[in-house]
Symmetry: D2
Subunit: 409 residues, 4 copies
């Protein structure tokens, strides 16, 4: 077996593991160094460091302090990596920790993070998904079962000081346009809950006060939450600092395009088996600003989908100009209404869209003023037939099973 470079002990606080960090900063010390061409294993906490539990209450989803996320394993140095190179990462395999064969999905309260449909689902809710080998199902969302499209929600290299400054400046600028907004427009540096890996003392304090939050995806990749970056795929990351400094975490057993439930996909603790290599000066050679990647040859295959359309007219009939965000929200709401006809609660339908390998396509984006987005639901994830028929829908679910909900206090 390849070496496990970074281990995590799920019974230990992530803050006590010095090979973990939860901010992006060039000063965070490498915790290990590997040679190009080598493969190794990295263990990770779930993105909350174990805060969300395998139980039937959404209190933890309601109460979590979101400034603690995401707990990342790394940074790992790669010998010879220099700014301007491309770091080639093969995700050779990914899995859940053997002693933690489950994951969670949920919606944050609108007062604490919110989500894509927070106006429709403003309270904290949670579902637990059990893994059964390659498959998952939930005791809170009956009637669906599907194989995992396992991937890291978050992976990327350390920024250099200039890039870090750019990130912080532009996000602060946006934040400042509406500082009181709930949920906030952006997550800004926040020292008190920062975990800066092996930094300590003044160096830590300084870096913690500057470190970019891990929430948004950025030029380096980071928290892209791209479901297709799954085990078996190959990624080309921009390198900004000597040694590259690769970190990762936020593993997902499965996720729909958009990660619309925000808390989040099917979130899990686990391990990544990866291999690294370099393309020297690759950023200039290929004109690379953001990562590029090639998908895995091993992903769950579906030939049949039910596809929902949405346009950029909002729930109140308001007309938006080529707004794909609004269009996708309409497609999602349309799908939820449809699934409710089969007996699902709205929350359960929303959870399915957040967890199952649904596709979200930007179908049309020039036909003024309406963008058109499509949401693709694989029909085979259901244990019953969800196709339309002349007879109309059958209620396969009787509503006796519901998702835990914890009202705001």
């Amino acid at each position: 077996m390849p070496e496990t470079l970074i281990k995590v002990d799920l019974s230990q606080s992530a803050y006590d593991n010095d090979m973990v960090h939860n901010r992006w900063h060039p000063d965070i010390p490498m915790v290990a160094t590997v040679k190009p061409g080598s493969d190794f294993i990295v263990e990770t906490y779930d993105w909350t460091g174990g805060f969300i539990k395998n139980n039937d209450s959404a209190d933890d989803v309601r109460d979590i302090d979101l400034s603690i996320v995401h707990f990342l394993s790394g940074p790992i140095g790669v010998e010879g990596a220099e700014p301007g190179d491309l770091l080639v990462v093969d995700l050779l395999d990914i899995g859940a920790k053997p002693d933690s064969q489950w994951g969670f999905n949920g919606f944050f309260s609108k007062k604490n993070g919110g989500g894509f449909l927070t106006e429709h689902f403003p309270q904290a809710q949670k579902s637990i998904w059990d893994f059964e080998g390659l498959y998952t199902k939930s005791r809170h969302v009956p009637g669906v079962r599907f194989p995992g499209l396992i991937h890291p929600g978050l992976i990327g290299c350390l920024p250099d000081p200039k890039m870090l400054a750019t990130w912080n400046a532009r996000e602060q600028g946006l934040y400042d346009t509406d500082p009181g907004r709930v949920p906030a427009l952006a997550t800004l540096p926040f020292g008190p809950t920062a975990h800066m890996g092996r930094l300590s003392g003044d160096a830590k304090a300084k870096a913690a006060s500057e470190g970019a939050r891990t929430v948004p995806p950025r030029e380096h990749g980071g928290n892209c939450d791209i479901k297709d970056l799954s085990r078996g795929s190959k990624i080309y990351f921009p390198v900004y600092v000597p040694g590259a400094g690769l970190s990762m975490g936020d593993l997902h057993f499965s996720q729909g395009d958009g990660e619309i439930t925000f808390c989040g996909a099917i979130e899990m603790a686990g391990w990544v088996h990866l291999k690294v290599d370099l393309i020297k000066d690759g950023m200039a050679k290929y004109g690379i600003k953001n990562p590029i990647f090639k998908p895995s040859p091993i992903t769950p295959q579906y030939d049949d989908y039910l596809i929902f359309e949405g346009i950029s007219v909002d729930e109140q009939g308001g007309q938006h100009y080529l707004d794909v965000h609004v269009a996708y929200r309409q497609a999602c709401l349309n799908a939820i209404e449809y699934l409710k006809k089969f007996g699902y609660s709205g929350a359960q339908a929303y959870s399915i869209l957040g967890t199952a390998p649904v596709q979200g396509h930007i179908s049309g984006v020039v036909d003024i003023p309406n963008a058109c987005a499509t949401l693709w639901i694989p029909t085979k994830i259901f244990e019953f037939d969800i196709n339309p028929s002349a007879a109309g829908p059958t209620k396969f679910l009787d509503g006796s099973i519901q998702m835990p909900l914890s009202p705001d206090l």
Copy 2:
């Protein structure tokens, strides 16, 4: 062979064909009536009614009066269809007219329509794509060849008066926020170039002045430009008027997600073989607002993609809040920069994204403040290897072939 309900003669002006119309209005008379369960063929003009020619000049793209589009064949009445039903449409097959085995793609001038990347490609350009059976290639964009994912860009049923009024009101409202904008924020009713099918006299004049433009997709479907609504697929359309009134046009031999080039996909004149059926009261039974559909079992298959990421930070570094439109634009621009390294001009790369069956995914839409979109390019459409390698890219094209460009006058 099934009956051809509507014929078009490409040597005749579309305005002279009374089974064609270019506005949406409930008063447009049905041109034929069919029974549920029947199949038939409908011929269509290309969306411009033949204005764009198979030649090596982009003058027609620059000079077109866009108020004439789209020329639709229909409306077709379905016996027994009533408001609230779902009209089930099987796209049994679609093809180009035998005497018109080619299509066009292009970018409008920013002064006349623009497009997704109009700031980067502000001048009119055009490429011609020849069909070779199932495949297409272009004399203006060397090095790519791919099978068609043939589909109607535009298909849907007539609105009722209330829905028509809603459309016009909300689009007028948006338009009025910036009436002088170029390109305009919306296309408003415009009588002079309206073709109202078999309406004539005052009835025509009245309807022409009210008829909704065909440009945007709306609740009824319409100009969705969804590449996956391809031959072999099955669509469930909302019905608003007695008889349904199904019209279609804007056939595409192929298109990438987003139809980013706007003028347009690979646009062609052709025919649709379709079958219609009804789900009575289907809108309420299934909670349907917009059409839903099931994809075709026969589509070009790819197992290998090169995938580009984009985030909602614009070309000037401006930070946008979860804006998928901006994120997808960045993904597209990233792909264009990449393809240029192999010898393509920016315009040629842009054309490939507009014509080939590239996928555009809404990958992450909750990680404030950045949306993440991905653009998937199937590697097999290229006649050479476009994958990254340690050696760097090879210039397979020498730049001797370029796309026609017609500067603004």
Copy 3:
């Protein structure tokens, strides 16, 4: 549109069309010559030249004189082709004749041709399949509908005299081991029903008496009946005579692996749009004896199959040594028994295996003494659920529809 090199008139006897032939012989004159790189269209009769009719009687299947088959269009000469070259053929598209949107499938009587399961289905039976755009269904086999995997059952180049002699000698040798066998072990040259294209007089008589029958696949390809050689695929054929001499026919709208029903797949008259090119001296360069090919990017896609196993123990319990033929027969018989539980007659089930895109895999061929073959039935071709369940099968069919059968006279 490309030129139609060879036309066929379905109201005319194939014997009266001098661009058609039904034997393989190097002396058959080319009927047209094309340049490498050119594309063109070839029309073909169905393999029987129109003998089998679209009706509800199997008399024609029972009574056909099988020495007349297959009616091939060609041979077509390719400029510059020489023995030893590879002729590269792109099957750009294939379709049924517009005025002949149907095909037939059937089983020959054991006394007149037989078939793979002739011991179980010894009498002539027939089913007619109607085409509906990309799809087909049969009034004689209810409950299935599927898109076509359209392909030529037979395509290849003329043999040279030496190869012809080899064919005839080895097949005569086999025939002579049991000359009275019914069905025969091989089809030998037979002058009286030979159609030698543009040959006439003594030259025709000589060639007719020597011409290899078109029934078996051979080194040149020929009657391979490979369902995957479908429209969109690319084939590399060995060239034996100057000009290559490409002929084709026996078009199939769809077929299962093995073409087990023998009469045949879904047989149709139609057209092929193809393009030819050359790899000079390609046979030696690539060590080619039989054709090789690359499959089409456009084929019906299925993600779900029900798979039946068979081993090389025959119906009477007899043990055969690694005999894949016997193993596949068992897999087919197992599938037929299964389908009968849902209400199909054995004949209908057999027809489904012969017509639908079922796969037949040589799964294990070394585990003495049993070969293992698998038969893959795509579940989506059925209009009902054929998966096993705890509740047991439901009879979806009531037996009121049966396939025509014509007893031996």
Copy 4:
């Protein structure tokens, strides 16, 4: 994690593990009992019980006593299972033992087992394949790398006495037709090397002398070596004895259709996570004689193949009657000749066909006298382009790396 019902210690002889057996016999005691609906893990030896080593000599392949195989884990009893039921087995996941991340492939000497191409490769040869997460590659076969299609080569339930007697009688009958043949026509009961699990004393001696060898696939499934019975698939097994008695082993990391190299696929020690359930009286309900199954949604996907044809004319030009075995052998030999043009030795090419997920189709089986078989090689498994071109093949390999060969002593 689910319970591991059966553990194997690779440092211990398989004969010392009483939860393992290497013959089929109804008297072998169940080693564990599970309830329908439960899931659990079973570890297995490789099929030789560890005889073949991870080294660079083929001596072990040459010298192995093949009467010792296959070492199976089980039998496992299922509560409530009765003869006539179907045992539904979900292969939830399968993997290699963590401390044994490699597998072997090889050809037996013609004098000791042989193989599909033993006349062409009569000497013992071996290749070792290292696993890298989802992928494998070999230090003995350069230029190929592919993800595993992991499956058990052998799985099935215990026979009852009557079935056992049938097996032994029919195989003895075949054997007796040529008792001196090398390799033998069949493997007969052989007590000295039998491992009968927990049987001991006279009961063991009796059962050992009667126990059916594990080599051939039979009515119960058994050694089917079906590559598509991969992790994620669902199998329906006939039940013959109370409790079913499910055993399994012979895990493969990957295999081509036919397992033509015989020793074998990529053979490994590992574990299976499985779930069992029952369909009461399922054999009669569904007319089941051999197992049926549904494939996994998670398998390596390929869209591009190079396909080789073979017909039932043997290497000496001998004509066989619809013999798929001969036809597939020709397709394999054709592929080997082709691959040699790129620099592979024949043995390396043969190994690729035995290990990679190549497909073997029974393409035509009625066109007397020639069967037609096709061999499908996925082009993406190669690190270079193996497609034909006008320029001819490039020798990507220089022959410096060869497979170990151990001549007969």
